[in-house]
Every structure is written in structure tokens, then in C-alpha cells.
């Protein structure tokens, strides 16, 4: 490991590298992967709070049956924007932020491969989301057609602001594509000598595959919104049967993007959990190779399952069967992963610091989401479940205690490396328990209301669902407000936490733990030599 330290000590005599610029210029013009990572993470947190407020508007309206707080038109805008902002504004940028911070440090690279483009990928986002949020204040209101924006709701019957929504999606897509190109170029080209592919930390592997998925499907989404734009403004009839097109075609194109997209939101999470569990179980990750192959097979399968979102639109029988079996097949590589995490913990000397608590909750609750997914994959059963709260429960289990918990776990895990200080462990644990309880109280009852037939995206509901909804709303407020505690813990750690050591965690392995905390502004300007001891595990 010593050669690593020698490697990075060289950075002072490297004349074109110095510390950060002062003031706002630092953040606007930076080409530093750590600065850009920080920007992404704070941006994502801001979006998380905004999207969270929208969720609370939704849960307030659903607290009791009847229409009380907002009118249905606005309710629809809330569900739509909540989904869009959480997916594109909170979860995805958070993972890109983590990638920026971690991938160069984990690979022993001086920075991302294309630093100026890296800055561009970030700075597009505030403009894109500024534009999208501004639609809420436009005449006729913002997007109100659901985050899946099915035609013709999003074309023929859309508010005028849909034009800006379309352009905002174009911009987000451009940002994701550039970010992914950067990540792929970094991983393929910037690994330190000795950092072979099969020595890379899993976070790099999962991001490599995620970036590939992003480059493959974001352009398809761009194509879909472009066709919408043409249908709306130039009189084409892609999604209009009257002109020989087909609204169902929109759904096919959307979900060809949309299903890989849900894996885009979970694969990096797999990488994070695969870093945290071995650290606190003090054992190497069980089945590293199989983790890599499982990730790759999930990515491949994610391209051939999309129509499981469309079982009820009327598809030929052969199609229904194909998509049912291919969907179920994804459970196999997913199962491999869950097995490996559990096997890693098996007989480990475990301790339960906050990141580990979130990681364990991830394994358990994500698996539950996977099981409800399997139920939904059964075509005839999905006829019943489709568009009910059961689907809402399913995807919130995989996204909130799944993707989001992994992001929170990652922040607790790497924060000491980023800012040089430890967070307050007891407050962290408190945050965990509040979130854990909150998430289950919110989403578990939705399985029941869904199975009993409560439709999603509806501001009012039959009296029989009243109890479950009230519980759900209470859980949502608990969960939502606990996240303010998270913000407090993070800021407190940055400003006045106990100084962290370089290795931070007793069981931590990997290049990022060989440099001091906080990580210097430039790391590995001269590549380290990677020995087996600081490779993955």
C-alpha cells in the first residue's frame, strides 16, 4: 500500500494543478471530479426535498377520502412531477455524483476522463429542472399526464407547457449521455496500472454497466419525446390511430427506455451495498465474479422485458408469454446477488454502524420489492394488480428502501472521506430507525389497498380504503421529516465532526481508503501501483 501514498505525494510538484478557485467561480467553472460530485449530490438533495414536498401534497390529499386540499387537476400535476423529479432529478444525479467522487479514487485516476464535459453534464441539469418546475406556474399548469407521459394524454390532451417538458427531457437526456460517456471512458481508460477489470470495486463495475444502459436507452427516450413534439406541433400522427399511428406504440417505445431505466436506478445501488457489507462484516465479498456476471445478465435481460408494463393494453398472446417468462428470469441473477450479500454476512464479525444498517435494510426491503415484482410479472395476476396501489407499493419498495437507502448509506459511508469528519453515530442510527419505520408504515399498507383494488393516480377513493391510506400518510410525514434530520447530520459532520482517519472504517479496503481524509483536491495525479491488498473486497 505504501507505493500508493508515494504516488499521490507527487501532486505538489505538478505545476498545472493547484487548489480550488475562490467563491462561486469555483463551482461554475470547475473541472474537478470532487467538486462536480459535490454539486451533483447537493443538487440531487434539493430535488429530493422538492419532490418530497410534492409527495406530501399527495399524501395530504389522500389522508382521508374526499377532495379536501387540492383540486384533482393539481393533484395530477403533483403525481407527475413527483415521479419525474425523483427519478431524473434525485436518484439519477445522486448516483452520478457518487460516481464522480468515487470512481476516479477507486481506480487510482487523477480525475474523470473528460473533465470539461463533466462540468457540462452537471450544469445542464439546473437549467433543465428550472424549466420543468417553471411549467407548474404556466398558464394551463404543468405536466399532468403521469411520469410515464402516455400519448394521447401527453399529446392531444396535454397542457401547452408540455413543449417545455419535452425540451427539459431532451436536456436531461443529453446530460445523462455525456455523464455516461465520461464514466465509461474513465473506467476503460483511466485505471491505474494493475487495476485489472476483475480487481475493480463493484461500484465501478455496476456503474460501467449502468452507463452502457444509459447510452443505449436515453436516446430512445429522446426519440419518443421528439415524436411527441412533432405530433403536437407539426401535425404528424405517430401516436394517433386516426392517421395510421398507434398510441400503444408510444408505450412500447417508452418502456423500451423505461425498464432499463429502473435498472439504471438500482445497479449502482448494488455496487454500493457490495462495498458496505464486506466492510462491516469484515469479510471479502462472497462471489465477486458472480456479482459481475449477474449485473451483466440483469442489464442484458432488462432490454427484453419492457412489455410487462403493458400486459393489459392488449398484446398478442405470444407476446404476453414471452414477456412474462423473460421478466421472471430476471429474478435469477437478482437472487444470486441477494444470496451473495447474505453469504458475505454469514459468520462475519459484524458491527452495525449507520451505513451497514441502511445496507442491511436495503437487502431485506429491496428483496420484498423484488417479490412483489414477481407477482406482477405473472400476466393473468397483473390484470388485477395493474394500475393499482400494489404497483405503487412495488416500485416504492425497490426505489425508496432500495435505491434511496443505498444512496443514504453511501453518504454515511464515504462522507468522512469527503469532508474529513465523522458524522454523529447516534443521530445517524436515529435517522436510520425513523426512516426504516417511516418507509414501511408508508408503503406496506399500499400492498393491501392495491390488492383490494384501489387505483393509483386518483385524488379520491372509496371509503373501504380509508384506514390504509391514513396510515400511509402518517408514515409519509414521518419519513419526510426524518430526512431533515439527515441534512442536519451531514451539515453538522461537515462543520464540526470528529476528524476521521484515512482508512475511516476498520474493515475498509480499496484505493480510496489509502489517501488521507478529507481527500486532497487532486488525488493520484501520478497513478498508484495497485497491489492485491488494495483491490476490491
Amino acid at each position: 500500500m505504501s507505493e500508493v501514498v508515494v504516488g499521490h505525494d507527487h501532486h505538489d510538484d505538478d505545476d498545472h494543478h493547484h487548489g480550488p478557485a475562490k467563491g462561486i467561480a469555483r463551482w461554475l467553472f470547475t473541472t474537478n471530479h470532487k467538486d462536480i460530485g459535490t454539486l451533483y449530490l447537493w443538487f440531487s438533495f434539493a430535488m429530493f426535498l422538492i419532490g418530497g414536498c410534492m409527495a406530501l401534497v399527495i399524501r395530504t390529499e389522500l389522508f382521508e377520502p374526499g377532495l379536501q386540499f387540492v383540486d384533482p387537476e393539481f393533484f395530477n400535476q403533483m403525481t407527475t412531477n413527483h415521479g419525474l423529479i425523483m427519478v431524473f432529478g434525485a436518484i439519477m444525479p445522486a448516483f452520478v455524483g457518487l460516481a464522480n467522487w468515487l470512481i476516479p479514487m477507486q481506480l487510482g485516476a487523477p480525475d474523470m476522463a473528460l473533465p470539461r464535459m463533466n462540468n457540462l453534464s452537471f450544469w445542464i441539469l439546473p437549467f433543465a429542472f428550472g424549466l420543468m418546475l417553471s411549467t407548474l406556474f404556466m398558464e394551463g399548469g404543468g405536466p399532468n399526464f403521469g411520469w410515464t407521459f402516455y400519448a394521447p394524454l401527453s399529446t392531444t390532451y396535454a397542457p401547452d407547457s408540455v413543449t417545455f417538458f419535452i425540451f427539459a427531457v431532451h436536456m436531461m437526456g443529453a446530460s445523462s449521455i455525456m455523464g455516461s460517456i465520461n464514466i465509461i471512458a474513465t473506467i476503460l481508460n483511466m485505471r491505474a496500472p494493475g487495476m485489472t477489470f476483475m480487481k475493480m470495486p463493484l461500484f465501478c463495475w455496476t456503474w460501467l454497466i449502468t452507463a452502457y444502459l444509459l447510452i443505449a436507452v436515453m436516446p430512445v427516450l429522446a426519440g419518443a419525446v421528439t415524436m411527441m413534439l412533432f405530433d403536437i406541433h407539426f401535425g404528424t400522427s405517430f401516436f394517433s390511430a386516426a392517421g395510421g399511428g398507434d398510441p400503444v406504440m408510444f408505450q412500447h417505445i417508452f418502456w423500451f427506455f423505461g425498464h432499463p431505466e429502473v435498472y439504471i436506478m438500482i445497479l449502482p445501488a448494488f455496487g454500493i451495498v457490495s462495498a458496505i457489507i464486506p466492510t462491516f462484516a469484515r469479510k471479502p465479498l462472497f462471489g465477486y465474479d458472480s456479482m459481475v456476471y449477474a449485473t451483466a445478465s440483469i442489464a442484458f435481460l432488462s432490454f427484453i422485458v419492457w412489455a410487462h408494463h403493458m400486459f393489459t393494453v392488449g398484446m398478442p398472446l405470444a407476446g404476453q408469454l414471452f414477456f412474462m417468462y423473460s421478466t421472471m428470469f430476471i429474478a435469477v441473477p437478482t437472487g444470486v446477488k441477494v444470496f451473495n450479500w447474505v453469504a458475505t454476512m454469514w459468520q462475519g464479525s459484524m458491527t452495525f454502524e449507520t451505513p451497514m444498517l441502511f445496507a442491511i435494510a436495503f437487502v431485506v426491503l429491496f428483496t420484498m420489492g423484488g417479490f412483489s415484482g414477481l407477482m406482477l410479472a405473472i400476466t393473468p395476476a397483473d390484470y388485477q394488480y395493474h394500475d393499482t396501489y400494489f404497483v405503487v407499493a412495488h416500485f416504492h419498495y425497490v426505489l425508496v428502501p432500495g435505491a434511496l437507502f443505498s444512496i443514504i448509506a453511501a453518504v454515511y459511508f464515504w462522507l468522512p472521506k469527503w469532508c474529513g469528519n465523522m458524522y454523529d453515530e447516534s443521530l445517524g442510527k436515529l435517522h436510520f430507525w425513523l426512516s426504516f419505520v417511516g418507509v414501511n408504515v408508508t408503503f406496506f399498507p399500499q400492498h393491501f389497498s392495491g390488492l383490494a383494488g384501489m387505483p393509483r393516480r386518483i385524488p379520491d377513493y372509496a371509503l373501504q380504503f380509508a384506514d390504509f391510506n391514513m396510515i400511509s400518510s402518517m408514515g409519509a410525514f414521518l419519513f419526510g421529516f426524518s430526512q431533515l434530520l439527515f441534512m442536519y447530520i451531514v451539515i453538522k459532520a461537515i462543520r464540526s465532526g470528529k476528524p476521521a482517519t484515512g482508512q475511516v472504517w476498520e474493515g475498509a479496503h480499496g484505493l480510496e481508503w489509502t489517501i488521507p481524509s478529507p481527500a486532497p483536491y487532486h488525488t493520484f495525479t501520478t497513478p498508484p501501483v495497485v497491489s492485491d491488498s488494495n483491490a476490491h473486497n
Binding site: A113, L114, L120, W123, L131, M190, G223, A242, G245, P316
Partner: protein, 305 residues
């Protein structure tokens, strides 16, 4: 000059205002375009000022940005590893473009093979079409749309003719010839660089740019013909929709490609590129070959079959 060096350290550029400048310019373009489109739709005149300003700003910043990249390259701070990053970057960018076109080709196949025949009453899903528009006959190109009041069909289409003499006058065929030969000329330009024949580079690259321009002129000609004589427009149903979106976005990419090649040509005149360092040119030529392949697919699936 470039590449004689071997710089051990990967070059990480200083902070730079270009990216955030581009982001702001794109925002300006898009805000202007959105307002313009919405204004037109609600019967206003629409002003393109803001979007054109945005476009101008984008080009201005790109001018500085690429200027800087070229200077960095010529000054030798760029090592082989960084060049490889550019290679990967361009390669994956082209892959993203492939997927963008894949969306439109997907729409074309779906409409042709599935949607139109269902609308015509075929297959298990035919019942809806049968009920809604019993008159509708499934055919490709669709000349009479399911609802001809809403979407009057085209008078004629662009499908390839059946007689040999008509083929000789068939514009898309000539466009294919032009684009395929331009792929060859750009390849010749590349060989000329590799053999350090400066004169030949200028000739072949200039010829490529010229062929690109001719293609664009002919394409414009074809569109005018379609709009004015064939009654084939964006509004004439699914055939016109897929035809124009595919050929239109392809034409847009040819425009970009021609522009990039023209910049390369200018750089050749400035003495840039040599036999071992010409990635700026190679990237442009990859892009050009890609645009060419898309055209071949278009020619088969949009025009011939």
C-alpha cells in the same frame, strides 16, 4: 509539435467557463424555441430571436472550446492516454446516435408491420380497427388514412419505381450514390493523411465536403418536390410522419457532418493533422461513415421496401 512528447501525467484542464456557457446557451435556445412553438400554435406570429441567439451563443462557445482543445493538442500537453479518452468518447457518442435513430426505425417497423394491419382489421387486435374504420385498407405506404378527414393522405409517395428508366431519374438513388462515394472519398483523405500527402488530403476532403453539400441540395429538392407536387407532408398520416422524421433527422446529421468535415478541411489548410495524430479528422470521418450507414438503412427501409 503534437505527439512527439510522451507526457506521463494525464492532462486535467484548468477550470473553464465553456461548459456552463454552453448550458446557458442551450437553455436560451430551448426556451426561445418552446415559446416560439407555443406561440405559433395559439395563432401568434412567434419570434425566433431568442432561439437564434441561443444557437449563435452555442456556436460561439463551441468555437472557443474546440479552439482550446485544438491548441492543447498542438502544444503537446495531450498524451496518448487522453487521446484514447477522446476516442472512447466519440465511439460511445456515435453509439448513442445509433440508438436515437433506432427509436425512429422502431416506430417505422412497428407502424408498418403491426399498427397498420391491426387498424385494417387483421389479427387478434383487428377488431378495434374493424369497428372504428371499416373502410380502412392496410397497405404500405398508407395512402388513405383511417380517418381521412383528420389526416388527408398524400397524393403520391416516395416509393422506388418499378421500371428501369424511372430508376435512372430516381433522386434517392443518386443520393445513395453520392453519399456512398463520399464515404469513399473521406477514406481516401484518411489514407492521404497517413501517407502525408498534403495536396491529396485537401483534394479528397474538399471533394467529400462538396458531395455532402450536393446531397443536402438534392434532399432539399426532394422535400420541395414532396410538398409541392406529391402532396406528401408531415401532416399526411403515418407514412409522411415516418418518412420525414427519418430522412429529416438524417439530413440534419449530414449537415452537422458536413460542417465538421469543413472544419477539418480548414484545419488541413492551417497545417494541422499528421500521419500519427489526426484524431480530430478521424472522429469526423467516423461520424461521416455512421451517417452513411444510416442512409443505406433508410434507402432500403424507407424508399425501396
Amino acid at each position: 509539435m503534437a505527439n512527439s512528447q510522451e507526457n506521463p501525467n494525464y492532462y486535467v484542464p484548468e477550470s473553464s467557463w465553456y461548459p456552463v456557457g454552453i448550458a446557458a446557451a442551450v437553455f436560451c435556445l430551448i426556451l426561445g424555441l418552446g415559446n416560439f412553438l407555443n406561440d405559433i400554435k395559439s395563432g401568434g406570429d412567434g419570434s425566433l430571436f431568442m432561439s437564434l441567439l441561443g444557437l449563435a451563443l452555442i456556436f460561439t462557445v463551441l468555437y472557443f472550446w474546440y479552439g482550446t482543445v485544438i491548441r492543447e493538442n498542438e502544444s503537446g500537453i495531450v498524451n496518448t492516454q487522453l487521446k484514447k479518452s477522446y476516442v472512447w468518447g466519440m465511439g460511445w457518442f456515435i453509439f448513442s446516435e445509433v440508438m436515437f435513430f433506432a427509436a425512429f426505425f422502431g416506430a417505422l417497423f412497428y407502424a408498418r408491420v403491426l399498427a397498420v394491419s391491426w387498424l385494417g382489421g387483421e389479427g387478434g387486435k383487428g377488431i378495434t380497427g374493424e369497428y372504428l374504420w371499416p373502410e380502412f385498407k392496410p397497405e404500405w405506404p398508407v395512402m388513405t388514412n383511417p380517418n381521412p378527414e383528420l389526416f388527408p393522405g398524400p397524393a403520391e409517395n416516395m416509393q422506388a419505381p418499378s421500371t428501369a428508366s424511372a430508376w435512372a431519374k430516381y433522386l434517392p438513388l443518386w443520393n445513395t450514390v453520392i453519399l456512398l462515394s463520399s464515404s469513399w472519398t473521406v477514406h481516401m483523405a484518411h489514407s492521404a493523411i497517413k501517407n502525408s500527402k498534403r495536396g491529396a488530403i485537401k483534394f479528397w476532403l474538399g471533394l467529400t465536403v462538396l458531395l455532402g453539400c450536393i446531397f443536402l441540395v438534392l434532399q432539399a429538392e426532394e422535400y420541395i418536390h414532396a410538398y409541392q407536387e406529391l402532396g406528401l407532408t408531415l401532416e399526411t398520416g403515418i407514412y409522411g410522419s415516418t418518412f420525414f422524421i427519418l430522412t429529416g433527422f438524417h439530413g440534419f446529421h449530414v449537415t452537422l457532418g458536413t460542417l465538421i468535415l469543413a472544419v477539418s478541411l480548414y484545419r488541413v489548410f492551417r497545417g494541422h493533422f499528421n500521419h500519427e495524430d489526426c484524431f480530430g479528422f478521424e472522429a469526423a470521418s467516423w461520424y461521416w461513415h455512421f451517417v452513411d450507414v444510416v442512409w443505406v438503412c433508410l434507402f432500403f427501409f424507407v424508399y425501396i421496401f
